[in-house]
């Protein structure tokens, strides 16, 4: 069982509000899951630690200016005000 304070802190960091019922459920679930994952402690180590499973090279493409999408199409499903995307206030 993971302690409630840790789960609450993680949830706040992840921008998720938990109900009391969710908090209890995730405390148990995360405790069970992370307890099982302790199995990793006995796994063999390795000097290599790639991010991707294959070797990926930095490949850049030509920087060619273009208008690929119509701005009105992009804004079609967005909540807008005078063609600006609406969002919550900053303070």
């Amino acid at each position: 069982m993971m302690d409630e304070k840790t789960v609450k802190d993680v949830a706040k960091f992840a921008h998720i509000d938990l109900t009391d019922e969710e908090l209890k459920r995730y405390c148990k679930d995360l405790g069970d899951i992370l307890g099982y994952f302790e199995l990793l402690n006995e796994a063999p180590g390795c000097d290599e630690r790639g991010v991707n499973p294959i070797k990926v090279e930095d490949i850049v493409r030509e920087d060619i200016p273009e208008v690929k999408f119509d701005a009105d199409d992009l804004l079609r499903d967005m909540d807008t005000y005078e063609r600006y995307v609406r969002g919550p206030r900053l303070s």
Partner: protein, 442 residues
């Protein structure tokens, strides 16, 4: 059933099986050369794309994913976007904000996940191919449960442009079909370099010429924990392979048991950062209370529209990335990934493919799934996640049926970029395997 019949009956088919979240309104196929469907985490400019999540409800992309664009250019007609676990988070396609696809062999059972709707469509509709996406087994698992063929190619073989990310270092787009021969035919269309996805740019030539498989290796750890019926069906299938002239050896691969926890650490770490972009602006639901401060607004929207499993994986991934714990398990998970890759490469020096059952059991009933804990569900993935964290191509073929008539699948894994050996063995298998199609009545 002709393509025209399929379009005429599409609504009725979907009412019974619930494979599609969005469908074409067209009843005429026009000059389309073939019909296809795509998992709903692939963007499509004429159909809503939600990735199984209510937070994206109402999102109409302005562009096609590269794989969809290529199939359309080849004469394909997109007929539907298939139901799935939210953002790919599941093994049974039951973690969805929308409809849950039903298994074509028994409507009380799941299709598998997370490309469950795609496997269902490929199983039910004749001459149909469906695009699936695999992060930890989401093509082969549902292909196995629905009695069809499915391939997840090498990581980077198919452009991920237009794919709604789950885990960027793990996601792979592939094909599901009733016919093994279709896998090669349609993979040839969607594979290839795309400068909009740099990970696709390093791939070597896509080989498809027939290459007879000589030997397979079965990890002893890959045949542990199976249901009795899967064990028996797989044993018979192995004998059948031997009769086809394939050498079969049993080998040790102890790293397999560490792949599942390593996968969930890596996948949820990546997912929790990818899902940070869904905050009730620009995509999907945006009707939050704008009088709230931005942190409170984002939190309110995310809490309301993310489903249970999405929240669980965001919490798990966020925790895994935090200082202290992250330094311990995240780094170790990356090492385990490399150990699994090295083990596959070592075994594949002497064998053409690694083989095991695709799933440890046949498609479970919905009421049994509802009793499973999150950890139980994660453990069910232990046979499919190793090839996925390794980025190696893998292909599931139907290999028999249990006493209830439910399909059993087995999964071949090849070395990076060696899809050709998988196509070859699948086509050889198909020639002698007695595929039982589900009874489809609408």
């Amino acid at each position: 059933m002709t393509a025209q019949d399929t379009l005429r009956d599409l609504k009725a088919i979907n009412e019974k099986y619930q494979m599609f979240h969005a469908m074409t309104p067209d009843t005429e196929c026009g000059d389309a050369g073939f019909l296809f469907s795509a998992k709903d985490n692939l963007t499509s400019k004429d159909m809503e794309t939600c990735a199984g999540s209510r937070i994206l409800e109402g999102y109409h992309p302005v562009f096609d994913a590269t794989c969809i664009e290529k199939l359309r250019s080849a004469g394909g007609k997109l007929i539907g976007k298939t139901n799935m676990d939210e953002f790919g988070f599941g093994t049974f396609s039951t973690n969805s904000g929308f409809e849950i696809p039903k298994n074509p062999y028994d409507l009380n059972r799941a299709c598998g996940g997370s490309s469950g709707g795609s496997a269902c469509a490929a199983s039910v509709i004749e001459d149909h191919i469906s695009l699936g996406v695999s992060t930890g087994g989401s093509i082969c698992c549902p292909a196995s449960f629905c009695g069809v063929y499915g391939i997840a190619p090498t990581y980077g073989r198919v452009s991920r442009y237009g794919l709604i990310d789950y885990g960027n270092s793990l996601d792979k787009i592939g094909v599901i079909s009733q016919k093994a021969t279709d896998l090669k035919k349609y993979m040839e269309i969607i594979a290839g370099k795309d400068d909009r996805d740099p990970t696709s740019m390093v791939q070597p030539e896509f080989r498809t010429a027939y290459r007879k498989i000589g030997s397979v290796a079965i990890p002893k750890e890959g045949v542990e924990g199976l249901s009795k019926e899967v064990e028996a069906v797989f044993k018979d299938a192995v004998e059948q392979l031997r009769s086809m002239g394939v050498d079969v050896d049993y080998v040790d691969m102890p790293s397999l048991k560490y792949a599942m926890p390593a996968y969930y650490i890596l996948a949820t770490s990546e997912a929790s950062t990818n899902l940070a972009r869904y905050v009730g602006m620009r995509y999907g639901h945006q009707e939050g209370d704008h009088s709230l401060k931005f942190d409170d607004y984002f939190t309110a929207v995310r809490s309301k529209y993310f489903g249970d499993e999405a929240k669980r994986r965001i919490l798990l991934g966020t925790y895994a990335r935090m200082a202290g714990f992250g330094g311990r398990h995240y780094a170790k998970a990356r090492e385990v990934r490399q150990v699994v890759i090295n083990d596959y490469k070592s075994i594949l020096k002497d064998h053409d493919a690694v083989l095991a059952p695709t799933m440890p059991f046949t498609a479970p009933r919905f009421d049994d799934i509802s009793k499973m804990s999150a950890l139980d569900s994660y453990k069910a993935d232990y046979l499919t996640v190793p090839a996925n964290i390794a980025g190696t191509p893998h292909l599931s073929v139907p290999c028999g049926y249990d006493s209830d008539g439910m399909p059993v699948g087995m999964q071949f894994v090849a070395d990076h970029w060696n899809e050709d050996i998988l196509f070859s063995v699948a086509e050889d298998w198909e020639k002698q395997f007695d595929l039982r199609r589900p009874e489809v009545s609408i």
